[in-house]
């Protein structure tokens, strides 16, 4: 093993979190910062030549190579898990910028009460009425504490939207259910389309409060506080699973990397897969990795930051034997607990008029939060928490959108009758979707798989995860609302694409928002990292990402992840570096 010269800070992972931490540390201090990214470099010019549905949407060209590493899944402890052999329910990214390159650009904040969810549920329902296996926790931070950091992330990206709650004042046209914002969004909402305007009108008529989905795909040319200028979105429709060819969608490579490459104290190494954090006497000493030519390398550092994808943060801790693995039978141990995903539902809708659905942007759409959190939850739904209901003009691709046919037209899935019907309805169909909170349960967790390994021979992460009646009822509720909205739009509703079946499925795409495993909390008894994302047992080790979420919310998680990273960065730069040790 080649041992390199020590650096001040080494970061595993070059996505949103890794590069945001690097930018804060390398930009505000003279410390040497090394980012290790296992995937390749990403260049803007590749993104124009990458506007290809087959390679990027159907073959997942920007995603992690599952042949080299995946996760395994089982529904309950006691079963043996099998590997997730091909892409399905979630898509981890790879390469510089990580999943932040091919994300949709939906930039929601979480609801304030999400951050004190255990308390809220106890107060509202009484402990006795809650499911016994519920493992929901209050977060280590409050919405109010995170608000300035949300704002920092929104400015960095140039998020467009319409505030619904400005310092406590409810504003028409925004989301009246959201937490108070200190500022209006940095940019206005996107231009809207025929489809989303129909949805907005229908939602208003039903008495709901539709608002423009907050979008990190720029609605106009924007210069951020770091002096980075990006052009407005061209609505080409190539967002989700693609990198943006004009840089309008905020990505780590077009917001953070341009600043970092100018810093002499910053080094980015691609093709480097981190395998272990080496530690002694409660201090991280170094990380070991395999570089792009296959050589084993050790990089010593004073501070180690894990900023890899959710599951990998937990897996790296497990492989490095840092912390006590969670045991669901005793409830002891913290590492790997509170694995959550999200609860999706989608209803296809069919309209009389063409939609030009190929035009659009990842963030272009309308959301309603009337069923989010515990708002508007009719007791007959039998659920504790709901979610967003949305429609989007995200840019339909020809292969993926072809073949949606309303019920009653033809049962065929191939042949001339099918072709005729599919041609008729192509560009006259869309989907009303929803994403609901996924509560944490004792039985859902991450550990290491005893049977399956990655390309280096290291055990894969094993997910033990299944739905409960609560999630199934959340999906039913969402479908009911979606059907009502479809009718009010004058559309025909199709059979819902049920994503939450009897059991959790790794086949159907759910969202890429897997969370938990290395949760942040206020006590080392129940969490892995402290409120500043510092490992409870190892003050020079920081573990940052959605791995810190004690349960998952209804919105897309990127802004919350970044807000937590910025807060961690301030604590690290302003406090830890002056007095290295556990922050209190």
């Amino acid at each position: 093993m080649q041992r390199l010269k020590p650096v001040d800070v080494v970061i595993a992972g070059g996505g949103w979190v890794g590069l945001a931490m690097a930018k804060e540390i390398a930009g505000r201090t003279p410390l040497s910062v090394v980012v290790l990214e296992r995937g390749p470099a990403r260049r803007l010019k590749d993104y124009a030549a990458g506007m290809d549905e087959v390679d990027y949407v159907l073959r997942y060209r920007m995603m992690q190579n599952l042949a080299e590493e995946t996760a395994t899944h089982r529904h309950s402890a006691g079963q043996s898990a099998v590997p997730i052999r091909q892409y399905g329910s979630f898509n981890p990214g790879t390469g510089v910028g990580g999943a932040g390159e091919h994300w949709q650009g939906l930039a929601y904040r979480f609801l304030p009460d999400q951050f004190r969810l255990a308390t809220v549920l106890r107060e509202k329902h009484g402990r006795a009425k809650l499911p016994a296996e519920l493992a929901v926790e209050d977060w280590a931070v409050t919405y109010e504490e995170l608000e300035p950091f949300y704002w920092r992330a929104e400015q960095m990206m140039g998020v467009g939207g319409k505030a619904g709650n400005l310092r406590g004042q409810i504003v028409d046209g925004g989301n009246p259910f959201e937490g108070p914002r200190s500022h209006e969004y940095p940019n206005p909402p996107h231009k809207q389309t025929y489809l989303v305007n129909l949805f907005t009108k229908a939602a208003r008529e039903l008495g709901y409060h539709p608002f423009p989905s907050p979008a990190a795909t720029l609605s106009q040319t924007y210069r951020n506080p770091d002096g980075i200028t990006r052009s407005g979105c061209a609505y080409c429709g190539y967002c989700v699973r693609y990198g943006c060819m004009i840089g309008a969608k905020a990505q780590p490579t077009n917001t953070l990397l341009p600043l970092l490459v100018k810093r002499k104290n910053f080094t980015l190494r691609t093709g480097c897969s981190v395998r272990r954090v080496v530690h002694r006497d409660g201090r991280a000493q170094s990380v070991t990795y395999v570089d792009e030519v296959g050589a084993e390398v050790e990089q010593p550092a004073r501070v180690v930051i894990l900023a890899s994808w959710t599951l990998n943060n937990s897996r790296l801790l497990m492989l490095s034997r840092i912390g006590d693995p969670y045991d669901p039978s005793t409830g002891k141990g913290t590492l790997g607990r509170n694995l959550t995903h999200q609860v999706g539902a989608a209803t296809p809708i069919f309209l009389d008029r063409p939609l030009n659905g190929f035009m659009g942007a990842g963030g272009l759409g309308i959301t309603l939060a009337d069923f989010d959190g515990d708002f508007g939850l009719d007791p007959s739904f039998g659920i504790l928490r709901g979610g967003h209901i949305r429609i989007a003009s995200g840019g339909e691709a020809p292969i993926s959108s072809f073949g949606r046919i309303p019920p009653g037209e033809t049962e065929a899935t191939w042949g001339s009758a099918w072709k005729k019907a599919a041609l008729k309805w192509w560009d006259r169909s869309a989907s009303i979707t929803s994403e609901a909170e996924h509560l944490a349960y004792r039985q859902n967790y991450i550990d290491l798989d005893p049977n399956y390994t990655d390309k280096f021979g290291d055990p894969l992460a094993r997910l033990t995860l299944d739905w409960t009646d609560h999630e199934r009822r959340q999906a039913v509720m969402a479908e009911k609302v979606q059907e009502t909205l479809a009718k009010a739009m004058g559309a025909r509703a199709g059979k819902p694409a049920r994503r939450v079946g009897t059991h959790y499925s790794v086949v159907e795409y759910q969202s890429s928002h897997v969370s938990g495993g290395a949760t942040a909390g206020t006590s080392p008894e129940t969490s892995v990292v402290n409120p500043w994302m510092q490992h409870w047992r190892m003050p020079n080790l920081w573990v940052i990402g959605a791995s810190a979420f004690p349960q998952n919310s209804s919105g897309n998680p990127t802004m919350t992840i970044l807000a937590m990273a910025y807060r961690a960065a301030d604590a690290l730069v302003d406090r830890y570096l002056k007095h290295p040790g556990a922050l209190a």
Binding site: A48, R85, Q86, A234, K419
Partner: protein, 213 residues
């Protein structure tokens, strides 16, 4: 090194471009095959034509050259499962865990084609009956999916010849900008002669299927 296999495709010239055709061939082109044998390619082409037929509703799999798309995909990294997790132990599991088999797309095709026998020699109704009999198999599901892909992919992948599939549905191809068009003329179809990715970026684009090893 295997013997070079070719597929002879009937073509006709229309407006200066060469199109694959079902009838009234003016000439033929010999397309070198990368994975299929000539006989296999004929069976697959016949099956694709029944899945997405050329009919009153417009051109189908033959005109789009779908079999060429499939041949190239199978010969590339996808066909040999380069990006799928293929370590054992191999165990059967519940449907929620998706395909857990060892067979690669190449294997699945080779096996599946045998089930179809001499498909091209049969009348259409019998071809349909034979396909219906295997509708539930992994092979047919894959074939159906690939047929649609070959109809509507960017022509860089060998299908959607002359963007015939995109013209059929009204998809204008990848374009740099809809800034002026988005949200305008609500409910009215915006249709243009399609452009390919190579047209748009101004140079040929190589698909992932060309990746070696």
């Amino acid at each position: 090194m295997r013997r070079r296999e070719f597929l002879e495709l009937p073509t006709k010239s229309m407006g200066g471009v060469l199109l694959y055709t079902l009838a009234q061939a003016q000439q033929t082109v010999r397309v070198p095959l990368r994975f299929f044998t000539t006989a296999e390619a004929r069976v697959v082409a016949a099956a694709c034509e029944r899945i997405f037929p050329s009919a009153e509703s417009g051109p189908g799999a033959t005109e789009a050259g779908v079999v060429i798309y499939i041949d190239r995909q199978l010969a590339g990294p996808y066909g040999r499962d380069k990006y799928r997790y293929t370590k054992g132990p191999w165990v059967d599991s519940s449907p929620e865990h998706g395909y857990q088999g060892k067979a690669t797309p190449k294997d699945i095709y080779r096996e599946g084609i045998r089930l179809l026998g001499d498909l091209p020699a049969l009348p259409e109704a019998e071809q349909d009956a034979r396909l219906r009999a295997i509708e539930k198999t992994a092979f047919f599901q894959m074939l159906r999916r690939h047929t649609l892909e070959g109809m509507l992919c960017d022509p860089l992948h060998g299908g959607n010849r002359e963007m015939i599939g995109w013209q059929l549905i009204g998809y204008p191809g990848p374009r740099m900008s809809y800034r002026e068009e988005i949200g305008q003329n609500p409910g009215e179809a915006w249709r243009r002669k399609p452009v390919s990715l190579a047209d748009m970026v101004g140079h040929p684009v190589t698909g992932w299927e060309e990746e070696k090893n």
